[in-house]
């Protein structure tokens, strides 16, 4: 296939695109998506197998090192992926100057929720 490119050889080698950082956002969204496939499947299988269980059983599950580690990894990947996805949605539909405020608030919200989720997981993991 003959693919003509209008980019200079240096631009192709750097691979940063016209916005200089566009590929980074795209790549981070893919990496977080690939990470989320096994983490989300682990979460869904765990929730399904713990359906109807009481607090003691649930806490005992989170206290296992594997569950606590996977939950923290899930929170990090999930909110990173959410922040990237929500940013694209905001960029597409919010056209006024409010856009930047909304993007910053969403980013802060995602970081804040990640930390709250991790602290909650650790509190359960190290309790009892």
């Amino acid at each position: 296939m003959n693919r003509r490119s209008f980019r200079s050889p240096l631009a192709r080698a750097l691979g940063l695109g016209s916005a200089k950082s566009g590929a980074q956002h795209w790549w981070a969204q893919r990496v977080s998506a690939i990470a989320l496939v096994p983490l989300c499947l682990w979460f869904v299988v765990s929730i399904v197998t713990h359906a109807g269980s009481d607090y003691a059983v649930f806490a005992a599950w989170i206290r296992t090192p594997l569950a606590a580690s996977c939950m923290i990894l899930l929170l990090v990947a999930l909110f990173h992926h959410s922040a990237l996805g929500l940013q694209v949605v905001i960029e597409d539909y919010v056209h006024s100057g409010v856009r930047f405020v909304v993007i910053i608030l969403v980013r802060f919200g995602c970081y804040g929720l990640t930390v709250i989720g991790i602290v909650a997981t650790l509190l359960i993991a190290f309790s009892g």
Partner: protein, 143 residues
């Protein structure tokens, strides 16, 4: 003399000039519906992620707070929301895998796009039903 369109600089067009097609004009197709569905399910799952943090925080606060959140999830509205989140999750997962395949520059032929599109729809419905049937079998049917 030209009937349609402008004849000279001063006259107005005989009929409005065509506008570029937009979302009200296009007939919904599997491709376009799945495209916007991937975005909508992403927004729903972002809300679901907030719910996950509330659930974990309640569990960290203790059995009482956890019981309150569990009773909210166990209510009719909670179960409907959880079911919606489950379907949104599987649709976004299958749609996301489809996107990752596209990223490898495969499956762009029209036939492949429709095959993968219907595969996404069928597998996400099937996975949602399987997940709920198994969890209801484990938990016991709600009284």
């Amino acid at each position: 003399m030209i009937k349609n369109g402008t004849t000279d600089g001063n006259s107005t067009p005989a009929r409005p000039r065509p506008l570029s097609p937009n979302i009200q004009i296009y007939r919904p197709q599997l491709t376009s519906v799945l495209s916007i569905a991937n975005r909508i399910t992403g927004l729903i799952l972002s809300l679901g992620a907030v719910g996950l943090v509330i659930w974990l925080s309640a569990a960290a606060a203790g059995p009482q707070a956890y019981g309150v959140v569990q009773s909210v999830i166990g209510s009719w509205a909670g179960q409907v929301a959880l079911f919606g989140c489950t379907f949104a999750f599987f649709l976004h997962l299958c749609g996301g895998i489809r996107h990752l395949v596209w990223d490898t520059v495969h499956g762009f032929e029209l036939r492949s796009i429709y095959i993968s599109g219907w595969t996404v729809v069928v597998s996400s419905v099937a996975l949602t039903v399987i997940a709920w049937v198994i969890s209801l079998l484990i938990a016991g049917w709600p009284q």
